[in-house]
């Protein structure tokens, strides 16, 4: 059972893809806890199970066995609709490919998660989030009119707008140049300093120092933990 200050509590998680002889174990007996307000970097080479971990942490997928408590709630056996609710209210995603809808302006993109929870004042909430990432003057720009770094900051604003417990960033700087990367990481670091829990999945050693704690993965298991 998780203690109250733990936001994430993974207990003996296994995730197996396929079945029979072709079965591949992506996570093996994997346990991890992340406290509220912590910042964590998950590192590892490709094939180490990082993406699978990200999917399970983000409630995009369910484990084959094991338990996952998120903010004190056991989410490992929830239905697809219930998981959608958890994602919408409690988790903000930042993806490597930004995943902005090209036909929508910046603030319309930021507004998206609010559409699935029937909030009023969506525009003012979206504008606040954009201001937080330093894009108050770009709210009506389409993604194609913004630089890569700006696009990723719009994506961070979209993750922030629902005031989530966790921001889950999957290779957030993977598609950015050094200067933009620094920008984006600074924003994430600032959010963490304001008390937001952040998990960054990356293979880039430059990114990890942003987090207070780093864990390394290999073959679906934790190999070492490093406190910054």
């Amino acid at each position: 059972m998780p203690s109250p200050d733990e936001l994430i509590h993974l207990e003996s998680i296994n995730k197996v893809y396929g079945s029979g002889d072709g079965a591949v174990a992506a996570l093996r007996d994997f346990s991890l806890t992340v406290a509220s307000g912590e910042s964590l970097a998950v590192m590892g080479p490709s094939g180490s199970g990082k993406s699978t971990l990200m999917n399970i942490l983000g409630c995009l997928d369910t484990p084959t066995s094991g338990r996952y408590w998120f903010a004190g709630q056991d989410v490992s056996r929830l239905s697809e609709t219930e998981l959608a609710g958890v994602r919408n209210r409690r988790i903000g995603f930042v993806f490597q490919q930004f995943q902005l809808l090209p036909k929508l302006s910046a603030w319309r993109n930021v507004e998206l998660p609010l559409l699935y929870r029937n909030v009023r004042d969506r525009r003012s909430l979206a504008l606040q989030a954009l201001e937080q990432v330093g894009l108050a003057n770009r709210v009506d720009h389409r993604p194609s009119q913004l630089s890569g770094g700006q696009q990723q900051r719009v994506a961070i604003a979209r993750a922030l707008v629902t005031d989530p417990d966790l921001i889950l960033a999957d290779e957030p700087t993977g598609n950015l140049d050094t200067a933009s990367s620094r920008d984006v990481l600074a924003v994430l670091q600032e959010l963490n300093e304001q008390g937001r829990t952040i998990v960054i999945i990356t293979h880039d050693p430059e990114v990890a120092p942003v987090a207070k704690r780093t864990v390394h993965m290999r073959d679906g298991q934790l190999v070492e933990q490093v406190a910054a």
Binding site: G58, L60, N88, R89, Q99, K103, L112, L115, Y116
Partner: protein, 402 residues
């Protein structure tokens, strides 16, 4: 996600692919327009057949000769000459047939009429003075032949208005029918030419003259008119009784003649036009179905194209129900739009065709409502499968697609 927002998102996506949306809509548009127009044309032709038959007079009864059976071959009604002038005389007896107002035998054939250098082929009927009354016709000029003309085999002819116009003949002219000269003594008033055939393209001569000089043979049909619409039933029974007697038939099921009332003719004709209308409307409905398949096709393309968008929306908290609704509503909007434009097109066809092609179109509200309802239903039904595909996509797989 609220319904309003879902509709707005759907509109945005449809407007994002304008050409594709328009082409998809066209399939539904033509289907709906075709249904409305064909049902409208069917309705109009049914109306005109009804009007024409009613204009013949609902008091009319027609006796046709019974079928012949020759060496086992059933010849069909009217193929045997079982009717004769003595039947006509029997039916004219006011004592035994008080409800029959007029009787006219008919012997008919096609012939070419020649007036000077003009000739015109038409239907020539041999009949008696009862023809005018039984057919409820009037003359626009001249007179009709009388009983004396029939008795004395006079060579006189009465023309329909179209026939007279085409021949350029007037009362007093001589026209040749099969080389035999006939004097035009009357021209009929126009009875209109709706529906099948033309009631104004014909010629009538005395029955005896036709029999002796033109076609030979006997009585093909006998036309009767009842004294009023309410006495048709009793006129029918009297005629039946008289003919059974004169033909010496004791078992009514062996009768060698058939009596038809206008009501029967009317219901037969209506059944025919109705069948035709259903046939045409079915073809139109199939094109509506094809349009629906087009909608499904384009929605499947749209789901495939928007896989990563679907994945993103799922990651951001869209439930399967949200996405299902999104795609069903998009399909529904496509077909609803197509349906409305189809109604507009159908109404336009209903306005233009009667003016351009002399085909009557009578559009009633029911087929319009049904067509639009079916169009929207088609969209919803054909939208379900693509929408299910969208709703069932696993978010991670969908996000990975680029």
């Amino acid at each position: 996600m609220s319904l309003l927002k879902t509709i707005e998102t759907g509109l945005r996506s449809l407007l994002g692919h304008r050409l594709r949306s328009v082409l998809t809509t066209l399939g539904i548009l033509f289907g709906v327009a075709a249904v409305i127009a064909t049902v409208g044309i069917g309705q109009a032709s049914s109306d005109s057949v009804t009007a024409r038959i009613t204009s013949l007079g609902t008091n009319l009864l027609t006796i046709t000769a019974g079928s012949s059976v020759s060496a086992g071959v059933f010849g069909g009604a009217g193929s045997a000459n079982t009717l004769s002038m003595s039947d006509v005389q029997g039916l004219q007896d006011r004592q035994s047939a008080p409800d029959i107002a007029a009787v006219a035998p008919v012997s008919q054939g096609r012939a070419t009429l020649v007036d000077g250098s003009t000739n015109w082929s038409t239907t020539v009927s041999g009949s008696t003075d009862g023809w005018l009354v039984t057919n409820t016709r009037t003359l626009s000029s001249g007179t009709f032949f009388n009983a004396n003309d029939v008795a004395t085999r006079t060579q006189v002819i009465v023309l329909g208005s179209t026939t007279a116009a085409n021949l350029g003949a007037a009362v007093g002219d001589i026209v040749l029918v099969k080389q035999i000269p006939f004097q035009v003594i009357g021209v009929l008033a126009s009875a209109g030419s709706q529906g099948f055939g033309n009631q104004d393209d014909l010629a009538v001569v005395p029955f005896t003259t036709a029999q002796d000089e033109l076609f030979g043979g006997g009585v093909q049909r006998i036309l009767l008119s009842a004294t009023s619409a309410s006495t048709i039933g009793s006129a029918y029974l009297e005629a039946n009784q008289i003919l059974l007697q004169t033909h010496h038939i004791t078992d009514p099921s062996q009768a060698d003649f058939t009596i038809t009332t206008q009501t029967q003719v009317l219901s037969t004709a209506q059944a025919v036009t109705q069948t035709l209308t259903i046939l045409l409307a079915s073809v139109a409905a199939i094109s509506l179905l094809v349009g629906g398949i087009g909608v499904m096709n384009i929605m499947l393309v749209s789901v495939t194209e928007r896989t990563s968008e679907i994945g993103l929306r799922k990651a951001l908290g869209a439930t399967p129900v949200d996405l299902f609704r999104q795609f069903v509503i998009e399909a529904g909007m496509l077909t609803a739009l197509g349906g409305l434009l189809g109604v507009a097109t159908g109404l336009a066809v209903g306005y233009i065709v009667p003016r351009a092609a002399n085909i009557a179109v009578h559009i009633t509200p029911l087929p319009v409502l049904v067509a639009v309802g079916v169009a929207v239903a088609v969209g919803l039904v054909f939208g379900v499968y693509p929408a299910l595909r969208a709703a069932r996509l696993a978010p991670i797989e969908a996000l990975r697609a680029q």
